[in-house]
Symmetry: C2
Subunit: 447 residues, 2 copies
């Protein structure tokens, strides 16, 4: 993309209403614009990162064998009355009356809708196991929306639901989700620690939250420091293999790691003192096994192998997709701006032309732009007639992990500058080597 | 995808509520399930086609140089009061009151929101031309939603908005949209004819609707038969080239083609009688140039080259993404089910195993499945223990354009059967040749 043709309305001033760094940088970098309290327009740069995160979620769900679908945002109140949650949910549910005076609502979650889909279409254990999921907009009418996309009212979320014949099968689905979530967050450059959590209004005997450590986190968390050494890495997992998934669960959840909601001082004190940590954390996902709670209330049964009808065992599993943008920035920034991990960056590389209009510099930039594009990469080329200082400030603010700087002086010596946003380190090298380096970083075959 | 692991709840009976063929087949093929009146859950097969259509829209918008973003579904009423449309819009607007008693609404369209984004961020003609668009859910509280996704209440739509300094520039943006829409529809296997239309509540001096001819269309249309011979094809277009885009507009709109709203019998009668046609059409998109209507009402101005502030010239341009599924099926089906065009098909090819459990047949199917997958294609392998008749009926109903049938008898002679869903013609050939044929059809390099 050529910046002269893009829509990147960066702000010079820090907006007064933004209390945390991710909110400030998302506004300043032209990623979002508040439409009304807790509701945001995703400007092109923000939308691009949102899509990248959504795509990673889809890819990892596909790898785990889960099936994508999509439920509508507006639901009838009927199903919620059936499950008993219509009255329970309180004022966070956005309640709507349509033109025929029917009670509707903007879905804050979808256990009822998905259970209805299931009971209408599945009647035999032979169709199990089944895990369906969606990535869809949801609405919770927070009394005091704040922190930008971290606690918005309209938010984008992945929610998945497993249906199994037995508790054992459902716990395998639970483990499968834990594994796929570990992979998902790591691909986004995040360490998200599964912590024992509280069931809350969704209910559930087994539940873990995934927390990213960050000073601005809304939760206090307590953990054994050994847990931050764990890495899923690029190990191969057979998601159908019960033992393999169980082993990952045990590896990642056997050490103490709890939020303040479930924290138990006595158990925590059994951890050797030098490994005890307390910190702040941002919740970016949660998994639940809740058994037959909804299937019994809503009659979601299947005929088992013995012919008897039994309610299915269910769980639900969520990833806060829009919230993740905030979490990633909270975990990865400096005083100049955002530092995107390579896995989610909106553009793979910035190209800064130090002297727009200089024939040689323009030509070199165009050539680099075309080479990167031909490799399947998306560079952002700052081709505006601006001073170098302003171009650097914009690139630093929007946080592309790599920048190629091109100027007449370097070109005279046959070199451009390749700079890492994270370390700030620069290296002079011939354009084709800079391109090859970028290609290698992103796993693209260089020409 | 292996069908035994997919969620494809096909129905044997034709649902009574479905009056038109696309609605019937979408329900029967397990693509959608009604959640409430005019609101649908997109089951996995339906969701897959919806995504394919959305992707084509994104690709063609990118080609035209338009910038994607995303606006929220829930809007504040304030902007609509500013533009004067809050009272005008009537009962089709889903009006909502939040917990703080603020007037909100579920966006039926987004001229106000996008104009607000523009006026908050753009102040100079140097940032023009600019075209922003989104593909987002919208809601219109239709009094009698019907025909499935063709006239639903919650629907998925691409809406784009151009901002230009002059009327001439804005008309070029109009032409650019016309060109990109022609390409978009053709890639979906549709002939969508641009017809002179009526501005309606969005307003506009220049507007064309795109109509797909189909017996069940809601509009009566009148056209010169020469128009159906026009094809955009694979011609190269430079979207920045004013003359090229203008020439396409002239080529595709100079012949008589109007909906009943703008039909003029006198002008129509100038068309030679043997070329005069009347038929039914389904609207799948519309483009508008409406000048400074919203920019004046909402103060969206830029400083021109002479320093004076001028309101920008705007247009808006929509494609009915979810509605397109219905339109494609109306235009492409037979009495056995849907016939997907290759451009949007949910799976590239079906594989039917005539004798599941037969070692040789199972092995051959697996090998074909893996070869197609390795080529970057997505086959749907019916690996269920069902009779051949049932498998064929399902494949015909869901409409995959190609089917490879594998059975012990054929394998003895070293052949499988390749069948075109459209023509019904079958051909026996060795598995590797069938794979090569499928690869060639979808433009994939065969191994």
């Amino acid at each position: 993309m050529r910046l002269s043709r893009y829509f990147l309305p960066v702000l010079k001033e820090t907006p007064a209403e933004a209390q945390i760094v991710s909110h400030r940088y998302m506004l300043r970098a032209g990623m979002i614009k508040q439409a009304s309290a807790g509701i945001y327009t995703w400007l092109p740069l923000g939308f691009k990162v949102l899509k990248n995160i959504e795509n990673i979620v889809h890819e990892e769900q596909a790898r785990a064998g889960h099936i994508p679908m999509l439920m509508p945002t507006i639901q009838s109140a009927e199903l919620w009355k059936e499950s008993g949650r219509y009255d329970d949910y309180g004022q966070e549910m956005l309640r709507i009356t349509d033109r025929h005076d029917r009670d509707m609502l903007y879905g804050p979650t979808n256990e009822e809708q998905i259970t209805d889909v299931f009971r209408s279409n599945v009647s035999s254990y032979k169709d199990l196991p089944l895990t369906l999921y969606q990535v869809q907009w949801k609405f919770r009418d927070e009394i005091r929306p704040r922190f930008g996309v971290m606690r918005g009212r309209e938010f984008f979320m992945k929610d998945g639901y497993n249906f199994d014949l037995t508790k054992e099968d459902a716990l395998h689905a639970y483990n499968r989700h834990l594994v796929s979530y570990l992979r998902t967050y790591e691909r986004m450059g995040l360490q998200a620690i599964p912590m024992r959590a509280d069931g809350g209004p969704i209910g559930g005997d087994y539940t873990h939250e995934f927390l990213v450590l960050a000073e601005t986190g809304e939760s206090e968390v307590f953990y054994d420091s050994q847990i931050t050494d764990l890495k899923f890495g690029d190990r191969e997992i057979d998601y159908d293999n019960v033992e393999q998934c169980q082993a990952v669960l045990e590896e990642f959840t056997s050490r103490y790691a709890r939020t303040d909601e479930t924290h138990d001082e006595a158990i925590f004190n059994e951890v050797p003192e030098e490994r005890r940590r307390s910190a702040r954390g941002i919740e970016v996902g949660q998994i639940f096994y809740f058994g037959t709670k909804y299937s019994e209330a809503m009659g979601a049964t299947v005929q088992g192998p013995d012919g008897a009808k039994v309610p299915v065992h269910m769980g639900s599993h969520g990833i806060g997709v829009s919230r993740l943008l905030g979490a990633i920035i909270e975990a990865s920034h400096d005083d100049k701006g955002i530092i995107w991990p390579e896995g989610v960056t909106p553009f793979h590389c910035g190209i800064v032309n130090l002297k727009q209009g200089d024939a040689e510099a323009d030509e070199a930039c165009e050539a680099i732009y075309k080479s990167l594009t031909a490799l399947g990469l998306e560079p952002l080329y700052d081709d505006r007639n601006e001073r170098a200082g302003g171009k650097f400030a914009t690139m630093d603010l929007i946080g592309l992990p790599w920048r190629i700087t091109v100027g007449p002086r370097g070109l005279k010596n046959g070199v451009v500058e390749l700079t890492s946003r994270r370390t700030g380190e620069s290296e002079e090298l011939p354009p084709e080597q800079a391109i090859a380096r970028i290609a290698q970083i992103y796993g693209k075959a260089s020409a």
